[in-house]
Every structure is written in structure tokens, then in C-alpha cells.
Subunit: 173 residues, 2 copies
DNA sequence: CATGAAACTTTCTGTTT
DNA sequence: AAACAGAAAGTTTCATG
């Protein structure tokens, strides 16, 4: 049978669920992250009620989460369709030999491309673009085409959308 | 030479840059969207200074943008790497005949998958997942595999990240 | 759309455990 | 070191013009 824990050890055990390199997250931090990922403008007062802590304590924790980089920022979620962008595209691209930098430059300088990942495997890049119509779709693709092979798809629906809060409960280490 | 505009016509001309189905956006709305997509927690007072309007007017406009759906919400941007998720994946998947619904269900019920688009063309789905290690990577892929062909890539870097504010200036109609 | 007053929230200070 | 309570500063909201 194991030796009983001191009160301070019990508290440490209960509060520090996860340890990372420079910081640790407990279940209250997790609750804060869940709430703020759902609503970034939630007032500190209401947030403190939900996580069961005083307002200054919650404010301190949020500041710390920002400082260590867990919270990278707060962004309004804009609907491109409401701005007239009727088509969302996924563009996979593979640069020709020696055209890697030119392709990256073409992708970066195309404002309709809102995100792009470089990935392992056959396709080098997977980019997401929003365009008003097929005319603009062609114009976007034609900016990439000179530098390699591309494969464009139109987004028909999104079965899962922006669900990062699911990760918070699963976090470990 | 064209007939001079009435004051009311001039104002309409100057303020209604874009017309959509049910609403119109002028350059001040665009400026508000740009600011809030960069920082959702920007105080209305500071926002009103930046767009050159009084605080109540800006508050009204923001409320309207929320009501018509241009602003879908406000979210904290959480860094999965800081939660211990060392690997980001893009998983392309194509269901076997008759397995479409099962594959959608498998994707929806996998919490490591944070977003998924159904697209035209050869691959039906493109999903994004965050996992702690290759063990968890295999577990995620194995949830999809029974229902079709998959092609997984590891995200190595992201040349373009979350750049939706670029769309605001280009919006038209 | 702007001004000014009231209500609320955030932040700061000091204090406690 | 972390959390709390109260006071001060700022912001949002609501009335009115």
C-alpha cells in the first residue's frame, strides 16, 4: 500500500493533470481553453463563473496561456460565402524540379489562397482557396500551373468544421 | 458631363460599395471585418477609433454583421503543438461502394479530426487531424481504413496560414 | 450617426492561504 | 505561488438629439 499524500501533494496531483516542457495545464486551464475556443469574447466575469474561479485568477491564467503560446490569438470567423465567394477549392500541387521556391511564391502572392500546408508524400502542397466563380477559379489555378502539376477540387460540403476544442480534452503528456 | 448627385445619392454611392442578396457592405464594414479577424477581442472603443466612427455606430454595425451571418463567431486560436500534438495530418479518403455513410460516421466520431471537407474529383474527403505520435496516427487512420481507400500525409510546414482577411478586400458583387 | 449618462467588465492593489 | 476581495479605470450600452 502506498504512503498517504500530504495535502499539498494531493493538490499538486489534482491540479497538474498535464506537464509540458515549460508549463503545465490543469483541468481549469482546459476548461478555459474550451470556453474561449467556442467564444473568444466571453467576458472574464462569466468565464470565471463557468470554471469556478475568481475573475482575477481567470485573468491571470488567460494571460499565462497567451504568454506560453497555447492561445495564439483571437479571430472573428468570417463566412466567405457572405462576401460573395461562392466556390471553395482545395488545390494539390507538386512543383517541377527547381520550381519549389517559385511555386511557394506564387501561392503566397495569391490572395484567394487562405491557407496552404506543405505535406509529405506525392503532393507537396495542399492549398485552400475561395473564389467568386469558375472564371476566378481558373485564374487562381493558372498562377500555380507554370511551376508544376496541380489537382483542383471543389469543396461540396464540410462534414466536420473547425472542431479544435475536441483536442483539448484528449491532450496528454 | 453627368448630372450632379443629390447629397443622399452621394452618400449611398460612397457607403454602399458592395451589394449582396440581403445586405450591403461598405468600406467601413470591410475595415471592421479586417480588424476583428485579426483580433476578435479588440475593444469597440479602439475599433471605432481605427475605422473613424463613434462607438455606438460601430457596435451597431458589428451586431448587424453578426445577424446577417458574415461574422459566424469569435474563436481563440489554440496551438495544438502546445497541447502535445506533435503531428498534423492530412488524410484523403475515398469510400468503397455503399460505405459513404459509414465513412462519414467514422470521420465525425474521431476527435483527432478537427476538420473535413467533401470534395469533387477522385478523393471524396480531405480531413485534417492532430495526433501526439505515430502510434496515435495509426489508430486514427485505422478508424477510416475499413470503409475505403485512404492516403495520409504528414504536414511539414504551412507556407500560408489562416489568411482570410485577404478575402475581405477582394470581395465583390 | 453622434453625444453623454448608467451599467458592466477589466485591471490593479493589497491580503490571505 | 496561486487565489481572493475590494477599489479604480476603462468599455459597452442605452437613452436622447
Amino acid at each position: 500500500m502506498s504512503k498517504p499524500l500530504l495535502v499539498s501533494e494531493q493538490q499538486a496531483e489534482a491540479s497538474k493533470d498535464h506537464r509540458f516542457g515549460k508549463f503545465s495545464l490543469d483541468r481549469i486551464d482546459a476548461a478555459i481553453l474550451r470556453e474561449l475556443s467556442k467564444d473568444a469574447r466571453l467576458p472574464r466575469a462569466e468565464l470565471s463563473r463557468r470554471v469556478g474561479l475568481s475573475t482575477p485568477s481567470v485573468a491571470d491564467r488567460v494571460r499565462r496561456l497567451e504568454d506560453v503560446g497555447v492561445i495564439r490569438g483571437y479571430h472573428a470567423d468570417i463566412d466567405p460565402a457572405c462576401l460573395g465567394y461562392g466556390l471553395a477549392l482545395l488545390i494539390r500541387a507538386r512543383p517541377l524540379p527547381g520550381q519549389m521556391q517559385n511555386m511557394i511564391e506564387a501561392i503566397r502572392s495569391t490572395p484567394q489562397i487562405v491557407s496552404c500546408d506543405r505535406v509529405s508524400g506525392e503532393d507537396c502542397f495542399v492549398a485552400r482557396a475561395h473564389v467568386h466563380d469558375v472564371i476566378e477559379m481558373e485564374a487562381v489555378i493558372d498562377r500555380i500551373v507554370p511551376f508544376g502539376a496541380t489537382n483542383s477540387s471543389v469543396v461540396q460540403s464540410s462534414p466536420v468544421e473547425n472542431r479544435i476544442e475536441q483536442l483539448i480534452s484528449l491532450a496528454r503528456k
